[in-house]
Amino acid sequence: MFDLYGFGDLLLAGTWMTIRLILSILVFGLVLGMIGAGAKLSRFRVLNLMAEVFTSIVRGIPELILILGIYFGGTVAINNLLSALGYDGYLEINPFAAGVVALGTAYGAYATDVFRVSIQSIPKGQVEAARAMGMPGTLIFRRIVLPQVWVVALPALGNLFLVSQKDSALVSVIGLQEIMRASAFAVRYTKKPFTFYLVAAFIYLGLAVVTTVGIQYFEKRTGRGLRRE
């Protein structure tokens, strides 16, 4: 086992921060992905076009640029807005919030197409039948569409979540005390960069393994009504 030079607690706190961060990113991204898929499948051409532009642009921007842009650009934009409104204090965006918005947006852009494809995979007849039964739109979505979309989308959403987990390390660049930042702190005091970054790597590997097992459990559970060929 590694000798953690008394920095074990700090790394544990960092891990907890990373877990909170990635779960918030997941929620933000799932909601955004649903909205995006709704826009892509909408009857209105303007919404289709907006969603298309949004996903193709966000997919081309490095996550680091998204994080730095939202954190620093957002801070400047908010302060300009505030001074225009006559408020002369200085506000700084919280790095946690900036990380959630930036990586949640990236997750949402990829999840949009996952949801779109899953919704399209549901036979049209089912929705027509539900409508013929007199179900309102929201009920159709909740009872017919959503439970099936979930099954189809889960593996891809899980993979995207694994990507977000790894990208969450980038939020350390704007000062959030997560795993990487905690490791960098320990490195500064111990001068053992290899040891601590390797420990960080293994924490991420551990998180990835837990997530993978979790996804497999959910896949089995949600897919239990499905016939297997």
Binding site: S56, I57, R59, G60, I61, P62, E63, L64, I65, L66, L68, G69, F72, G73, T75, V76, A77, K166, D167, S168, A169, L170, S172, V173, M180, A184, V187, K191, K192, P193, F194, T195, Y197, L198, A200, A201, Y204, L205, A208, V209
Partner: protein, 235 residues
């Protein structure tokens, strides 16, 4: 919005883009060289081939690229043997550290893509080739490689775009590629909004061009899948 600053920063950012291209191009080539044996080891049934390649791919796909860069750039200096070695002049440079980290990372992803492509080749073809008495190398060169490389193209183009986006991380080890130059100009002018927007546009543009090139290459090499009338219509 400071459009004048955006306009005057374009030449600097384009100079940064050249370094980004170098990083991506070199890592892509070196990564491919490493990925081929990795993929072959990964599909092997022999334990001492399979296990090391599996562990390698598991580690590099399961950990953040940022950790990998820091392990190479900051981590290696922990060992006096490395500091004393002939390689140290290279390993001290952020440029080579970034290339080493990107190469090791992309090799793992590419290896996994190639493995999928190799496994997608119908087994009967391989059995037939063996029955004809082809040697292993000939089988690889004539039957597996030409088909697997085409099958791997869509996955590989995705990986290349991820590598391009990942190359922005080189700025965290003080390298002045596209993101690094952008951050440097922001530190001097404090106009983060304008400059990150400009950098984002350049990245999106590069992604767009790369995607187009790959679509064209894929279209070209999958001609055999299209019906003959369509090919005749194209001339």
């Amino acid at each position: 919005m400071d459009f004048a600053l955006m306009l005057t920063s374009i030449p600097d950012l384009l100079r940064g883009s050249i370094i980004t291209f170098e990083l991506v191009g070199l890592s892509m080539l070196l990564g491919m060289i490493l990925a081929v044996p990795l993929a072959l080891m990964r599909v092997s049934h022999r334990l001492w081939f399979f296990v090391p390649s599996y562990a390698y791919i598991f580690f590099f796909r399961g950990t953040p690229l940022l950790v990998q860069i820091f392990l190479v750039y900051y981590g290696l200096s922990q060992f006096d043997q490395i500091k004393g070695s002939m390689l140290w002049p290279f390993l001290r440079e952020p440029y080579w550290c970034a290339i080493i980290a990107f190469t090791l990372n992309t090799a793992a992803y590419t290896g996994e893509i190639l493995r999928g492509a190799i496994l997608a080749i119908p087994h009967g073809q391989i059995e037939a080739a063996k029955a004809m008495g082809m040697s292993r190398f000939l089988l690889l060169r004539r039957i597996i490689a030409p088909q697997a490389l085409v099958l791997a193209l869509p996955g590989y183009s995705n990986e290349l775009i991820l590598l391009l986006k990942g190359s922005a991380l080189a700025s965290t080890i003080t390298l002045l590629e596209l993101t690094g130059i952008t951050r440097k100009i922001i530190a001097e002018t404090y106009k983060p909004f304008e400059l990150f927007l400009l950098a984002a546009c350049i990245y999106v543009l590069i992604t767009f061009v790369l995607t187009r090139i790959f679509n064209w290459v894929e279209h070209h090499y999958t001609a055999y899948r299209r019906p003959p009338e369509e090919m005749e219509a194209q001339g």
